[in-house]
């Protein structure tokens, strides 16, 4: 949003200072993007999702100016991953970026992409959202990397994000697997100075002579799987030797060892100065877990404190199932909360340091201020119509989906009753209708519909499900900041008709305060129709409309990529 380039004078403390490469102030996300560019990627793919959106936004800005790399939004994370696989197959490097729940959508190409013979480097940057700032769960993507048996790098700051992405491309080509770079919100959305290194050239195209490694027929898949298992010791050897996994033993003390992963190291260091003794410390920034280093630390101490941002992934491994003499403290022992974001304050308490004093915070006249739909948002009009259409009915269900419109679950709208995963509204509505509920609405945004709503609509068409589907068409991906939808609004009507929705039960209406009555009437009529109905409620997101008008007046100022 606000690209900054800073030419810093000199760095104190470093030896021979030449006129170094241009330092840049980058978000963690942007550092990932720049790392990929400097690793010579040919292409980058993603679907917008907080907190990963800025990775592709940066690359799209860059490719608008420089003509490369190819950087584009995709229909969803699965298609994004598959496009990246295509780039890799012909020998070139590709980045695919997503938020943690996006990896669920991409799980199929992700898991099978681990089995194929990766050719050009393929890096998947996944941004987890501990604390659920803008997500529906707190899943930890390290489990996914583990399940796929691929390496994962976990940066703790922006510089590491840049460097690890570059390293991940090398590893991907070395081990012939996709490599994950795991981010978390607090890094993805934090800015600091990054010092880039000389960029690499783009790879030449080079299709493998033997394509059996990309053809997962059972006979070939068995070979590939065996081969992936055979590569595991090499990946472990990499991790054991990696400078990203640094072990520092304090020969004088044996009472405490601390293991940090990713961002947790920052919070540990933040409190470090106040510790009376220096605990032995292992930081894990590269996976598979460096087993020998962990064992070395464990053998040296009586107690281990495990600090991880995310789920207690490493801690669970350490505890195992059998009793052991070593004391292990972490999230599972209750020394740190299992949910929410890690903070310097929680880490402080886990280190037995007293909580910091602040000013008194009693009797604060403070009220909650939840996020709201923008004033004049078209969704408000659609919600008014939906509520009016079911008013007075004994029962009804309004299943919904993921986007700005999910805020319609809160007062004053209180219009929708579910939000599970991208596209779920349509399938859930069909299921509820088949279980006997009536009337049933599915409410979904245009971009969510294109992401994951088309396939369940096929099911609904095939069985003429007795539901009313309302597609909120605001011509944008609103919640992530107004990216373009993958197809223009004009494509929705022919798409829905092409799937086989009956033209008599397809209505395209304007979502406008003056036309709520009209929409209500149509909805009431379609509630009475026992079969599938679709209403497309159209009006552009006002934020997107504002920005469009602004840009039409004065063309966008250039970014500041150096």
């Amino acid at each position: 949003m606000f690209p900054m380039v800073v030419y810093l004078p000199r760095v104190s403390g470093s030896t021979s200072i030449k006129r170094g490469p241009v330092r840049q102030v980058l978000l963690g996300d942007e550092a990932v993007a720049l790392g990929a560019v400097h690793a010579g990627i040919t292409a980058a793919y993603a679907y917008p999702g907080t907190p990963s959106t800025e990775i592709l936004e940066y690359l799209i800005r860059l490719s608008d100016q420089a003509g490369k790399p190819k950087a584009c939004w995709c229909a969803n994370e699965k298609t994004a991953f598959e496009e990246a696989l295509g780039v890799s197959m012909v020998g070139r490097r590709a980045l695919v970026a997503m938020k943690h729940v996006g990896l669920n959508v991409a799980a199929d190409p992700f898991m099978n992409g681990a089995i194929v013979q990766i050719n050009g480097g393929l890096v998947v940057a996944v941004a987890d959202d501990p604390g659920m700032h803008s997500s529906q769960n707190e899943q930890d993507s390290r489990y996914f990397a583990d399940m796929a048996r691929i390496p994962c790098l976990e940066p703790a700051n922006q510089q590491e994000a840049y460097e690890m992405v570059r390293e991940a491309f090398e590893l991907s080509e070395q081990f012939h697997v996709p490599v994950m770079v795991r981010l978390v919100t607090r890094l993805a959305h934090s800015r600091a100075v990054v010092r880039p290194q000389p960029p690499l050239a783009e790879r030449p195209m080079k299709k493998p002579r033997d394509t059996r490694g990309w053809t997962l027929l059972p006979a070939y898949a068995r070979m590939q799987w065996r081969d992936l298992l055979d590569r595991q010791p090499d990946m472990l050897a990499f991790s054991e030797a990696s400078p990203n996994n640094q072990l520092v033993l304090n020969p004088e003390r044996h009472d405490l060892g601390v293991i940090t992963t990713g961002l947790a190291r920052n919070y540990y260091f933040e409190n470090f100065g106040e510790l009376r003794h220096r605990p032995s410390h292992l930081h894990v920034g590269a996976y598979p877990l460096p087993v020998a280093r962990i064992r070395e630390l464990a053998a040296h101490v009586d107690k281990l404190l495990v600090l991880e941002e995310g789920n207690p992934y490493l801690e669970r491994y350490l505890r195992g199932l059998l009793p052991q003499a070593l004391r292990i403290e972490g999230k599972l022992s209750g020394h740190l909360p299992q949910d929410g974001e890690l903070t310097p304050d929680f880490v402080r308490l886990a280190l037995d340091l007293p909580g910091r004093r602040s000013v008194s915070t009693t009797d604060l006249p403070v009220r909650n201020r939840p996020p709201q739909l923008c004033q004049g948002c078209p969704h408000a009009d659609s919600y008014a119509a939906i509520r009016a259409s079911i008013e007075g009915l004994e029962q009804s269900l309004v299943a919904s989906d993921i986007g700005c419109y999910t805020l319609g679950a809160l007062p004053p709208y209180s219009a929708i009753e579910s939000c599970v995963c991208m596209g779920a509204s349509i399938g859930m509505a069909k299921g509820a209708a088949e279980a006997g509920m009536n009337p049933v609405f599915a409410v979904i945004g245009d971009s969510t519909f294109l992401h994951s709503g088309v396939t369940p609509l096929m099911d609904a068409v095939a069985h003429d499900a007795d539901i009313v589907l309302v597609i909120l068409d605001n011509s944008t991906v609103g919640m992530t900041g107004g990216q373009p939808t993958i197809l223009p609004s004009s494509a929705l009507e022919p798409l829905v008709l092409g799937l086989g929705v009956h033209p008599e039960h397809l209505h395209v209406l304007e979502a406008h305060p003056k036309r709520v009555g009209e929409m209500t009437e149509v909805l009431r009529r379609e509630i009475r129709h026992h079969g599938l109905s679709v209403v497309i409620a159209v009006r552009e997101c006002i934020e997107t409309a504002k920005r469009r008008r602004r840009e039409e007046r004065s063309p966008q100022p250039g970014g500041a990529e150096g």
Partner: protein
């Protein structure tokens, strides 16, 4: 030297531009800086928060620890109080008196002001009035940067350069208005300088 600022406000008030201006000026000065904010759902008229850390030593954590903020810089009268447990015992609460009443049950102004004035170091700024005087209600955030400049370990000139850089793409008039708001904010506090 370390200076931790917690910026508070309501989505749409221009919190991020404030953070960017102060952060860029600090970096130009050769300081280490980390600046973190939460995007997404919180942008829709909800409470927003940004962490800005400035130091002459490398900074580890992206977020400020409880009781560690040297300043809470708030664009809205109630929002600063929300994060009071982050303010150091001798920290400064610098807040606009402006109210964004997009929720029901909003506390009375006197109640909030009374509570703020119980704090050891407090400065209230009529940022909305200053912004109007500068030429646009939108410049309340720059009036607050101006007020904050009295306390920050940075020169006013460096901040002005960053304001100019940020707004230059929007034209000379916008730059002038925002600089005016900055100076009005700064002068409004000159009496309270530490």
């Amino acid at each position: 030297m370390k200076y931790d600022i917690l910026l508070a406000g309501v989505g749409g008030q221009g919190l991020l531009s404030m953070a960017v201006i102060i952060a860029s000026a600090a970096m130009k000065n050769g300081y280490f800086v980390k600046q973190s904010e939460v995007h997404g759902m919180s942008q829709r008229g909800g409470a927003v928060l940004a962490n800005l850390r400035i130091s002459d030593q490398p900074i580890h954590s992206d977020i400020i620890a409880r009781g560690d903020a040297d300043m809470i810089l708030s664009l809205e009268i109630m929002e600063g109080l929300r994060y009071l447990d982050y303010l150091a015992a001798d920290g400064t609460m610098l807040t606009s008196t402006g109210r964004v009443e997009n929720i029901g049950d909003y506390p009375a102004q006197e109640e909030i002001v009374d509570r703020i004035q119980q704090l050891p170091h407090t400065c209230l700024v009529q940022a909305d009035d200053l912004a109007k005087e500068a030429g646009t209600v939108l410049a309340g955030n720059m009036a607050m940067v101006g007020a904050a400049s009295v306390f920050l370990p940075l020169e006013a000139e460096g901040l002005e350069i960053q304001i100019e850089r940020l707004f230059r793409p929007k034209g000379g008039k916008v730059v002038e208005t925002n600089l005016r708001a900055f100076r009005l904010g700064r002068n409004s506090l000159s009496c309270a300088a530490p």
